[in-house]
């Protein structure tokens, strides 16, 4: 998948809008890793993505800043249209269409500044330093190549291994993602695998070159629940074994609870709250976050669901002030007049709200 994306990308390289493309800070691969041990695996400063459309400019992502510690798991959670997937794609450098503008004040991957990196060097990082696991496993795999040749490709391209060595590594990878009878299945085609097994194949491609960061975009959404649980266990196990950081993109609060250490909640293209997972679930500060929890059905007890009225805003013309104000029970005049800034409230916590919920009594609106 990554390499397939890269090929598709080749003609469009360097479209990373807002890039200062310098004459290459050399392919800063591998060797520099040791010096950067202490740096965040991924840090993003004020990422903004705009799409020009016939209807006007879509403000898909605005001023998103993230920091993903080495070996950590940060979840970006949000509903459709919140900008979470576009954020992931922009970080990968995959938002390249002519009508898109991507800008950022900072974007670094394990200490390497991606903004000043030459496109070729940046491409070299995809797969080896950062990789992306997509939601739709069937369309991300090439249907006419055996999984063996698809899994071997990163080793041949990035590491120049021989056909035989690359194949051995591919078998190893299949075992690593717990696909049974790996030696035999390596000759199969993607359609011969079940949905869960295909998702394992994608994860195998994603981890092939031991990236520091794996971006998992809705990795279990299309799967049945028993299979979803197995895939989440696998991701958790791999990131511990490989000391790999995961940027998890999801709409599923259960997946966040299972996997994430830190959470950034997105609404209408902006981060509205960040907090460690335990803290966020126990005491959400932003009214959107607590409303989201109150609307989610729970398995442990029968409860009356409390929906959020209305629908998410149109990102061509988002509401004035706080984008959530038309749906917010706490809104006041200031929410309409002035957009609240994302403000740190304590270590690791930040909220963009004029009336954050009181942390002490638990802001959570519990379902009855």
């Amino acid at each position: 998948m990554e390499y397939a994306e890269e090929r598709w990308d080749e003609e469009q390289l360097g479209r990373w809008q807002g890039d200062v493309v310098t004459a290459a800070t050399a392919a800063a691969n591998g060797s520099a890793r040791a010096d950067q041990m202490r740096a965040a695996a991924l840090s993003v400063d004020r990422l903004t993505v705009r799409f020009r459309t016939l209807r006007g400019e879509v403000k898909a992502v605005t001023d998103v800043s993230l920091s993903l510690p080495r070996g950590g798991v940060l979840a970006i959670v949000g509903e459709s249209g919140s900008g979470k997937s576009v954020t992931a794609r922009a970080i990968m450098g995959l938002v390249t269409s002519d009508n898109a503008t991507v800008s950022a004040e900072g974007l670094s991957l394990a200490g390497r500044d991606l903004l000043t990196l030459a496109p070729e060097a940046r491409q070299g990082l995809r797969g080896s330093a950062i990789s992306l696991v997509f939601q739709d496993a069937l369309s991300a795999l090439n249907p006419v190549l055996t999984v063996g040749s698809q899994l071997a490709e990163p080793f041949r391209i990035h590491q120049g291994l021989s056909r035989r060595d690359a194949r051995d590594r591919a078998v190893e990878l299949l075992r690593r993602v717990r696909i049974p009878s790996a030696e035999r299945r390596i000759n199969d085609y993607p359609h011969q695998f079940s949905g869960g097994m295909r998702q394992r194949l994608l994860i195998a491609v994603g981890i092939a070159l031991n990236p520091e960061v794996l971006i998992a975009d809705e990795p279990t959404t299309a799967l049945d629940v028993t299979v979803q649980a197995q895939i989440l266990d696998l991701l958790d196990e791999l990131r511990r074994d490989l000391d790999m950081a995961i940027l998890l993109i999801t709409h599923d609060l259960g997946v966040v609870a299972r996997l994430a250490e830190d959470v950034a909640v997105m609404y209408a293209g902006r981060i509205v709250e960040t907090a460690p997972a335990e803290r966020l679930f126990a005491r959400p500060a932003h009214p959107y976050t607590s409303a989201l929890f109150a609307s989610a059905p729970r398995i442990s007890a029968t409860a009356v669901l409390k929906p959020i009225d209305g629908s998410p805003p149109d990102l061509v013309s988002p509401p004035q002030g706080c984008a959530f104000h038309p749906r917010c029970a706490q809104r006041s005049a200031v929410c309409i007049a002035q957009r609240p800034r994302l403000t740190p409230t304590a270590a690791g916590l930040a909220v963009a709200c004029h009336h954050p919920q009181d942390a002490e009594d638990g802001g959570r609106i519990d379902a009855e």
Binding site: E79, T226, V227, G254, A257, R258, E278, P307
Partner: protein, 335 residues
């Protein structure tokens, strides 16, 4: 809890053929499934992909014909029409009245509304088909229906693309209600929606059920939504019922190893619980339905499988307290 069922299905089978006539193979999408649902009651049918839940729904509304078994409708015909009162077996081709009585809400609100027709025409289609209203009465009825599902009457001249997923699903529900059904079969009606909007539609269905006394058959894979929505639950695996009972019996005291695995796979919205609880060991994924395993179809994935499970298909045994389970290792409390 209402008692007399309005829709009863007995021993339904549905067989599909894959491949050509000569080398094709058959598989039982649904085998020997019985159910009953009463007015004011929601029966949820739960299962993963390939469990047969959608095939079952399609037979209930008459979109597919069962290969064996019988579906009976016990309701009165809609007001103002003559006809028998009592159980009517629904034959291979249903009468117009029978079709009116059982309506369907589809899964994908983006695919189930004709993009070229106005909301007025979409919602009025059952009125036109069944000759229920014409002219000004037709528009008035559509406005009432839109009001009933929480959409204003002002939208009648607009088109589906102008609406969000949640609004489209409300339009789909209004259309189903136009036929004045006694039974609503909802096939994953909220699985395509965001969680905040999903709650709106779940609450709407509960509200409509209270107002109209609808019997609802709710097809779903999300156990948390099922809990919020239903009175009784039926769990299907590879075309067969493996467990059925009240919500409390099935979700809080699951007896079949498959139901237990499903239940344990649902992620709790509490990080501590979600991380500490390891899902039960279910092995792999459902087998190919064209080539089902002998005996209990769950045995290859079951942590408790024994020799009996590999040989004999377990019968659905009833237990005290409103449940039934098809597993030789499960206790029904009656032995």
């Amino acid at each position: 809890m209402p008692s007399d069922p309005i829709l009863v299905a007995e021993s339904l089978d549905k067989v599909f053929r894959v491949g050509g006539a000569l080398f094709g193979r058959r598989f039982n999408a649904v085998s020997d499934v019985s159910l009953a649902v009463a007015p004011g009651e929601t029966l949820s049918i739960v299962g993963e992909s390939g469990s047969g839940k959608t095939s079952l729904a399609r037979m209930l509304v008459g979109l597919d014909r069962p290969d064996a078994g019988i579906i009976r409708f016990h309701g009165k015909p809609p007001a103002g029409k003559s006809g028998g009162n009592g159980a009517t077996a629904l034959g291979p081709s249903r009468t117009r009245l029978q079709r009116r009585a059982i309506q369907m809400v589809f899964q994908d609100p983006y695919a189930s509304l004709n993009p070229r027709r106005t909301i007025l025409d979409i919602v009025a289609e059952p009125l036109d088909v069944h000759g229920l209203a014409r002219g000004p009465a037709r528009r008035q009825r559509v406005e009432e229906l839109l009001d009933l599902v929480g959409l204003g009457p002002a939208i009648t001249s607009r088109f589906p693309h102008e609406f969000s997923g949640g609004q489209r699903q409300r339009i789909g529900i209004a259309r189903a209600l136009a036929a004045e059904p006694a039974v609503l079969v909802c096939d994953e009606p909220v699985s395509a929606l965001d969680v905040s909007v999903q709650a709106q539609v779940v609450n709407l269905l509960i509200d409509l059920q209270r107002k109209l006394g609808l019997a609802i058959v709710f097809i779903a894979h999300d156990l948390a939504v099922v809990r919020a929505m239903s009175h009784r639950v039926m769990v299907m695996y590879m075309g067969k019922v493996v467990e059925t009972g009240t919500v409390a019996e099935v979700l809080d005291r699951p007896r079949h190893p498959y139901t237990q695995a499903l239940r344990a796979s649902v992620l709790d919205l509490d990080p501590e619980i979600a991380r500490s609880r390891r899902p039960l060991l279910v092995l792999g994924e459902p087998p190919n339905p064209v080539d089902p395993p002998a005996g209990c179809s769950f045995h290859p994935r079951c942590p408790r499988a024994t020799d009996i499970c590999r040989q004999a298909v377990p019968a659905l045994r009833e237990g005290a307290g409103g449940f039934a389970v098809a597993c030789v290792n499960a206790s029904t409390g009656t032995e």
